[in-house]
Symmetry: C2
Amino acid sequence: MSSVATQDRNIASTFAKGMAVLAAFDGSHETLSLADLARATGQDRATARRGVLTLVQLGYLHQNDRRFRLTPKVLSLAGGFLQANAFGRQVQPVLNYHAAMLGADITLALRDGENVLLLAQSTVRDGPVSYGFTLGSRLPLLHTSLGRMLLACEPESLMQELVTRAPLPRHTERALENRADIAQAIGTARISGSCVTDGEFETGIAGLAVPVSRPGERAAVVGASFPSGSGPHDARLQRLHLCAADLRQNQALEKL
Amino acid sequence: MSSVATQDRNIASTFAKGMAVLAAFDGSHETLSLADLARATGQDRATARRGVLTLVQLGYLHQNDRRFRLTPKVLSLAGGFLQANAFGRQVQPVLNYHAAMLGADITLALRDGENVLLLAQSTVRDGPVSYGFTLGSRLPLLHTSLGRMLLACEPESLMQELVTRAPLPRHTERALENRADIAQAIGTARISGSCVTDGEFETGIAGLAVPVSRPGERAAVVGASFPSGSGPHDARLQRLHLCAADLRQNQALEKL
DNA sequence: ACACAATGTGCGCAATACGAACGATAAGTC
DNA sequence: GACTTATCGTTCGTATTGCGCACATTGTGT
């Protein structure tokens, strides 16, 4: 075992390793093997194995031959957060109302490290875009309107650091490749108070995002998506601003 | 430490204890203290403390003075499940379509131990009932239509065991108090292929549920709620059956 | 069928984590 | 406000838990 002299005795390293195993089930694969998990977490296979078998015993994973998958029980961990923060009463109805008025899905998002984390969404019947992301999904920070609007809400120094450090995979032909260009787009979003991207994350899809959080609060944004060229964005952005204003007014996100 | 002779060396007990700490944040309180967690988990306060501080370091909990709350990061654990099982593409659109046709929220649920676990829902704008539960919420098994329908889908012996063992708190004046009466209602649901309750979990609210799963599969149901006495249920149950048929057809739930 | 690569598992050993005891804080009483 | 008691949070000695190496087993390529 690592004999780091400044080992923090307040931290249970076995628990931290186990959580890394759980987090490795990030949705990018339906199932994972012990060896997959050892690679994903950097742990010895024996260590990853104990983590996985513990999760199976607790009911969070199901084992099928030599592969493991998450069970629905992990949803109850999210349920604790959603219930404690009254998302069902305070957030979802606001998103539903404005999504119905907009005629498109609306998504609420925060930043989690170098990713966008989706917290809630209202998905409408027969919306113009349905890209399959859900509550809990992670999206890239640099090529989505949600991500750029989140960065626009952060202090300049943190924004610059994240633009420099966050991954920059090229999702589409139209994706900006130059970090300086992305920083400039973020600066524009900061000034205009909204962000629009077009076809940088998914081809043929325009993304719109506006801030929900007030300055000094943890950055939160709402956004929507439309087919590229499917109409002017002014009224749509206005609708997103109204949604953000309602979320601020019912103070649903103050404790995030 | 417990010196259980048959300690399973494949299980990391420290990780299991840590997961019990995480699961203690079940949404029933906005924040919990160390002492709260020690009581909820049955652990020594020092043990619970290491669990909590580990979760803070990993970003799943936020500490404010002597109290702790879940952060949105726990949603990413759920996101792994939802993404891996394509809920955004395969489940949500079906629920959205049928909820729009029904004019009311539709919820998909499974059983998790002695509770109902909500897996997904489509919530409509201005639906007749909005009780604030979300994905990941737990509901009682014995007094909800979802719970009774789930029990109706289980083998007789398991159903009898759960009816005997599951908690029987009295949520409303109309709640059945006699376990034999509940078993009989479940038997009726099994025969008729649907379940209706009225005001047993929330006063003035009728619940409807029908099975999604096929015999031999893990029990799953869909349900909706309406104000008591707000109209006949036949057409509504029909709509729920159509929803269940669509979910079966796209095979979204086969791997749960 | 064989060789090699990859993966899964057992168990010796020591690092990690438990929890008793003590310190700190909160609550109740006068 | 002072004092007592109860409750909660933290430290650190000790031993139990869990790490990871080496071996066993399984999978893959020729």
